[in-house]
């Protein structure tokens, strides 16, 4: 289940052109699904997200070099 959720997130991220350095789980729930008086399945909810953080680190040098290139 966890892999299914992660794969789906990757798919969405790929389609949107977003880099996924790390996936983290925000919540997990598992409940029985009972019909009448017997269990017929499970309701599983998993929340996953791309771990928030800094995408690229820029140093002062990079910036200067970048400026030069721009110029």
């Amino acid at each position: 289940m966890r892999r299914l959720a992660a794969d789906h997130l990757l798919e969405l991220a790929n389609a949107a052109g977003i880099d996924v350095p790390e996936i983290e789980t925000t919540f997990e729930e598992e409940f029985n699904l009972v019909r009448g008086f017997s269990t017929v399945g499970k309701i599983i909810s998993i929340g996953v997200q791309i771990k928030p953080g800094i995408i690229t680190e820029l140093s002062v040098e990079d910036e200067i070099r970048g400026d030069r290139q721009w110029l």
Binding site: E29, F31, N32, L33, V34, F37, S38, T39, I43
Partner: protein, 442 residues
Amino acid sequence: MALKERKPLGLVFFPAFDWAISPTHPEREERLLFTRDQVIEEGLLDLPQIREYKPCMASLADMERVHIGVPDVASLIKAAHRVSAGGAITAAEAVFKRETEKSFALVRPPGHHAMRVVHGTRGFCTINIEAVMVEYLRHKYGLRRVAIVDTDVHHGDGTQDIYYHDPDTLFISFHQDGRTLYPGSGFPNETGSPGALLSTMNIPLPPGTTDEGMHMVLDELVLPVLADFRPDMIINSAGQDNHYSDPLANMAVTAQGYARLAEKLNADVAVLEGGYSIEDALPYVNVGIILAMAGLDYSRVLEPDLDRAPVQSASTTATIQKLIKEWRETWTVRERMKSDALARAGDFWNRERDIYYDDSQILERQRETVHYCKRCNGLLTISTKSAGNRSVEKSAFAVILGQDSCPVCRERGKDALIHAKRAGIHQHYFLQDRREDSLERI
């Protein structure tokens, strides 16, 4: 510090997702899952009229103010019971501190089948969360006159038992007739012991009662009786299993019926009790009650399968009308009935009962004696013994001294306990002293 604005409704939501009687039992982990989804999706917690509260944990002392657990309360409960009772306390305290006008404790496990003496779990209940809440308020804030209106489909026999001798607590329960449903009690002749006669009112309704029947009872009986009693606080044991889709009962009330009830009853605190149609009823009924209590429009809270809600038969209406008429007549002569009953009782009144704990499979035999006194509300002694398939035999003798107990009764009570202890028939001996706020094991 700026004063917090007083909100119309305080909401305590504690679904106890890790507690169940068993995984396929009606009282199971996901019972409030669909309700949570509905409440969140409707954005009810984001409304400015509603403030959410986290439940506190009720202490053992809070529970032992009400219950005598055999051998002790701690060994009979789970953490969820402490949070559920604590949730009711949190809800009521928000009202008492004037942070909210009303509160709704949307919590489980439920409690209205839990009686004063607890040997185990019955009717899915171990701790009577309303009683723990009321006695907490009485102890901490000096609350006196309380009315508890139990709108669960099952008779609130635990709450009735706890307040059977208390003239300051009016307990009104309407429910599906006990001849057709658990716990098989709640008949009009159960009216309280002589000192508290007619502070217990049972209204057994025929199976198939709809919104129409329930509101007849409310308008023509419950509301006028409440107005006469003039309570300092109204509590609603808000069970939701009168719904037409409930799998455990046979009534025909809708979410609109329940929401209108919440509006008219205008309870200070509502506490969830039963309700086992967890997908088809609870999400709608709870949203309806929350909106009604918050003073918001609930007219569009409709079950998708409302078409299948039955219509009330003429004979059902007639039965309910007759019941209301009889109760109204009794209510008008209540003072005379009470003084007659007290005169007949003389120095004491007792009853002997068998109490069945369906979940724990225990049968309890109990003898209760109320000793009357001219100076105070008297004292109560209880002799109890239980046996079951899965448990060893347990017995106890308890003396309960009230808040206003006079010196003579206090001495008599302690003597009775010492006498019983010397006789040595029971395994455990308890002195519950409401004035000292203690439960002593002798």
